[in-house]
């Protein structure tokens, strides 16, 4: 992968969180926290910022070094393989679950006669193509797509201003302090970008700007999450937010500009399709990068097709065999916290080991 500049890195990290925010987490936050969703959003945003700050501080001694190389420094090649595989599993699961959710939504709205496996296949082929493009094509495309998606989210918010029911934010604490601040902490999984940040430093043109890049990306992701959650919570009641469709799509159906633009939902769908493809491209390339690092394969391109098959299999497996709601509400959250904890633990040990070695050398 070519080195990326600051703006590109920010767009990549935002895109990683955006897919989860739009398709999964905003709905979960709205259905779990109800009227306190906005407070929960602010709260988890602060935690996310703090977590990012800690990661950046821990990275200070390893500027520009790959996370998996740090893992190797901590526990050798075996640990590198284990940790790499754990992150790989998390990223593939994220891809599969977002894809599953998006495809289910598409099937309900537009393609009721089409089996979702065919739709998944289309997306997987797109991911395989994105992986095989040279010169960071997927990355530059993301840099162009992310602003469009941000504008679309802002547009939905502004377009629905007249439909907002401001009473929906009361009672301000929703299901109570426990649900908002303790159980609500699990909603941190929306910031998938934090896991991506761990793998960012080795790809940066200017690794010294790692902290500012990470913090800016998480801050923008937080703002977007707030917009999405606010749109959902101010418009709908619990019945809608816990349905199968993602509520942001339903929100678009309410937007009207005069008599000509009566229904803009399919235009939103077009933008979201492009956003999903971009999300797939980023995560797929990241996964291939991890596979390359843990296996030392010189040419990763042929592996991309195997990876696409694996992704296809994972998505249709989740869709066919598991309860999607359980997977996204419980397993996905648990997996996110596990990998973040693992990442932090490795960074802390690596820092201690480095400090210990320094003292040893000084002595």
């Amino acid at each position: 992968m070519e080195k990326i500049n600051n703006k590109e890195a920010i767009s990549l990290t935002i895109s990683c969180s955006l897919g989860i925010t739009v398709f999964i987490s905003s709905q979960i936050i709205a259905s779990e926290c109800l009227s306190s969703s906005l407070i929960n959003t602010g709260f988890i945003s602060l935690i996310a910022m703090g977590l990012t700050l800690i990661i950046c501080m821990l990275y200070k001694k390893f500027i520009g070094i790959s996370f998996l190389d740090i893992t190797e420094f901590v526990g050798g090649k075996f640990l590198k393989f284990i940790v790499g595989s754990a992150f790989l599993f998390y990223f593939i699961f994220t891809l599969a679950i977002v894809l599953c959710k998006a495809v289910n939504c598409l099937q309900i709205v537009y393609y009721p006669m089409t089996h979702p496996n065919y739709t998944v296949l289309l997306f997987v082929i797109t991911a395989a193509i994105a992986c095989n493009l040279k010169n960071n094509g997927f990355l530059r495309a993301t840099f162009i797509i992310v602003p469009i998606v941000i504008v679309a989210i802002f547009f939905i918010f502004v377009g629905n201003l007249k439909n907002f029911n401001y009473e929906n934010i009361f009672p301000i604490m929703g299901n109570g302090i426990r649900a908002t601040f303790f159980e609500g902490t699990t909603n941190l999984f929306t910031f998938g970008g934090i896991a991506y940040i761990l793998f960012l430093p080795q790809n940066l043109k200017r690794p010294d700007k790692f902290m500012s890049i990470s913090l800016i990306s998480i801050a923008i992701s937080s703002i977007l999450l707030t917009f999405v959650t606010a749109t959902i919570i101010l418009m709908f009641n619990k019945n809608v937010t816990s349905g199968q469709l993602f509520p942001l799509y339903i929100a678009v159906r309410y937007i009207e500009f005069g008599t000509f633009f009566q229904r803009l939902d399919s235009a939103f769908l077009l933008i979201m399709n492009i956003a999903i493809c971009s999300f797939l491209g980023i995560y797929s390339n990241l996964c291939l990068g991890i596979i390359k690092e843990i296996t030392n394969i010189s040419d990763i391109k042929p592996v991309s097709f195997c990876f696409a098959l694996l992704l296809y299999a994972s998505t249709i497996l989740i869709d066919a065999k598991f309860e999607l709601e359980f997977m996204q509400n419980t397993f996905f959250k648990a997996l996110f916290f596990s990998v973040i904890a693992l990442g932090l633990l490795i960074l802390i040990i690596a820092n201690l080991k480095k400090s210990y070695k320094k003292i040893e050398i000084n002595n």
């Binding site: 990326i4 500049n5 289309l122 997306f123 797109t126 193509i129 960071n136 769908l269 399709n273 493809c277």
Partner: protein, 557 residues
């Protein structure tokens, strides 16, 4: 005896001509044409060699003129060789043959000090005498401005092919290469494709030297470097790499030279062929290198830090590196007020989107996303389609293919009929198709708007790729509506983002967005264009001072 032959004549054998193909073509085939021979001191040897190389007994236009040259009042055998029609016969008569053959002050003069005796007459001092003799002819007998002495037949033959005249003299192991080119060529004319209302009206011609002079005249700076390169083992086509030494990035120029000098082909006829040979890689039909017929556009590009490649025999120059926004820019943009130029640029951007997506979008909306249309419009579309028996994809492809046929037909017919054919074809065919209920009127509007938009794209190659990709988006839209179009847009976007032209990302300066002073798609006012495009990494980043209008701010540099 065959009875049939009594009544009917039949030839003995059937006429059957076949070219025997060689089965094993090897790379060595390319190298067999190399002539590794030098000029001999014997005139007869040189003459026989030239006669065999140029097949002068068969080729009627190869002129070999044998004559006796007078030098120091003595006669020596010599011959001239040139190609009739390529060299200027009148100039050869007046400034080569006349001074050499007729007795005059120069060739009858005998100096006291120097002794330019031919080598054969003084065998002991062969090298020195030979050089002095050659120098005497060079300095005093041939009054020509562009004259050189050559010893390699490779170079001599190449120069004869390009219109030069060569003089061989007995006893000399060198030949005189006289630049007496004089073939007929087209004069500088108005641009045929890149027309502008406001701006220079000159276009390149086929002759490379005329083209370089056009550039030199407009650049008006001694830092303009014009490097010559020969491409093609047989054709030896002259190409010129032009750049401003003090602005263009050194690595870019080195890379361009490297690519141009490492092309192993037999012949190069056009800049389009060269474009394919030097581009970074396959690009799924998306043009990577901008070609233009306008010298002013080339000069502007050079002042930005780009390089220009000219090919002899071709009125188009290649601009390297090129980015996507260049293909949507018109030479008129810099001549207009920024407001108008940007308005036109916005129109072009809309035209780009329409050309690529409108038919696909239309088919997606009518098949899958009808709710996007206002109810009244949806009803009128349904009413219009009521009597059409075909599915919408058939309708659309029928009209698109018809439109392409009219366009291609208009191009191939003589210009006087071409425009009429276009109008008649479009009007009558469209009207008849609607009347016969083959297509709906709305579809005619869609196809017409798409066609018009494709004409707005300033670059022909770029417009062509949009025409092809439009069909892909139409099929995607038909198969799965906005889902297909969304996927198509992403793949298209990622593909164009993955292209690089001479180390520069194709979507620069939009992505990667390196720094704040990149010129984006829209044109800022001329006084605000303080910096050159950073993606070109020019030697001089600053193009003009912060206050370019000194008269206004009363600033002194």
């Amino acid at each position: 005896m065959n009875i049939k032959k009594i009544f009917k004549y039949e030839p003995q054998h059937e006429y059957d001509f076949n070219i025997q193909t060689t089965e094993n073509a090897t790379v060595q085939d390319l190298n067999t044409e190399k002539i590794d021979k030098k000029v001999n001191t014997s005139l007869q040897v040189n003459l026989e060699f030239m006669q065999s190389e140029f097949n002068s007994l068969i080729s009627s236009d190869v002129i070999i003129r044998k004559f006796s040259l007078i030098c120091k009042n003595q006669k020596y055998k010599a011959f001239l060789i040139f190609i009739d029609g390529m060299a200027d016969s009148l100039n050869i008569n007046h400034f080569v043959l006349k001074p050499l053959m007729q007795r005059n002050q120069n060739n009858t003069y005998i100096s006291q000090n120097s002794n330019p005796t031919p080598a054969s007459k003084n065998k002991k001092n062969l090298p020195q005498n030979s050089t002095a003799f050659a120098n005497y002819i060079y300095n005093r007998l041939i009054p020509y401005n562009n004259l050189s002495q050559e010893i390699e037949f490779e170079k001599i033959i190449s120069d004869i092919n390009s219109g030069n005249c060569i003089l061989f003299v007995d006893t000399l192991n060198i030949a005189f290469d006289i630049d007496a080119k004089g073939f007929k060529q087209r004069s500088i004319d108005r641009p045929q494709i890149e027309n502008v209302i406001k701006g220079p009206q000159e276009a390149f011609v086929e002759n490379i030297r005329t083209n370089t002079s056009l550039l030199r005249r407009l650049v008006n700076n001694q830092n303009l470097i014009i490097e010559s390169v020969e491409i093609g083992k047989l054709s030896k086509t002259k190409c010129a790499l032009c750049y401003l030494q003090n602005i263009a990035n050194g690595d870019l120029i080195a890379e361009a030279k490297f690519r141009l000098n490492n092309i192993s082909i037999d012949s190069l006829i056009s800049s389009g062929e060269l474009e394919q040979l030097i581009q970074d890689g396959p690009s799924a039909g998306i043009p990577q290198i901008l070609s233009t017929e306008r010298p002013d556009k080339c000069v502007k590009a050079m002042y930005q830090g780009r390089a220009i490649i000219l090919v002899n025999g071709n009125p188009y120059a290649l601009i390297i590196p090129s980015v996507m926004t260049d293909f949507l820019a018109s030479p008129e943009d810099s001549n207009l007020v920024p407001l108008f130029a940007n308005f036109l640029k916005a129109i072009r951007l809309i035209a780009f989107i329409i050309t690529l997506l409108l038919p696909g979008m239309y088919i997606a909306v009518t098949n899958f996303h009808q709710e996007l249309f206002p109810t009244e419009l949806l009803f009128s579309i349904l009413v219009a389609r009521e009597n059409v028996p075909f599915p919408i994809i058939f309708e659309l492809l029928l009209m698109e293919v018809s439109f392409e046929l009219i366009r291609e037909g208009g191009l191939r017919t003589p210009s006087a009929i071409g425009s009429t054919l276009g109008i008649v074809g479009a009007l009558i065919l469209g009207d008849a198709a609607v009347a016969a209920n083959v297509v709906s009127p709305i579809l005619i509007i869609v196809v017409a708007i798409t066609g018009l938009s494709s004409f707005v794209i300033p670059n022909f190659s770029f417009g062509f790729h949009l025409r092809v990709y439009r069909f892909i988006f139409t099929i995607l839209g038909y198969i799965c509506g906005f889902l297909g179009i969304g996927i198509g847009i992403y793949v298209y976007l990622a593909t164009i983002c993955s292209i690089k032209c001479f180390g520069v990302a194709y979507v620069s300066p939009i992505s990667p967005n390196i720094s704040g002073f990149s010129l984006k798609y829209f044109v800022p006012p001329f006084w605000k264009q303080e910096y050159r495009n950073d993606f070109l990494a020019p030697k001089k980043q600053v193009a003009q001072s912060k206050y370019s209008m000194h008269w206004k701010k009363n600033v002194k540099e």
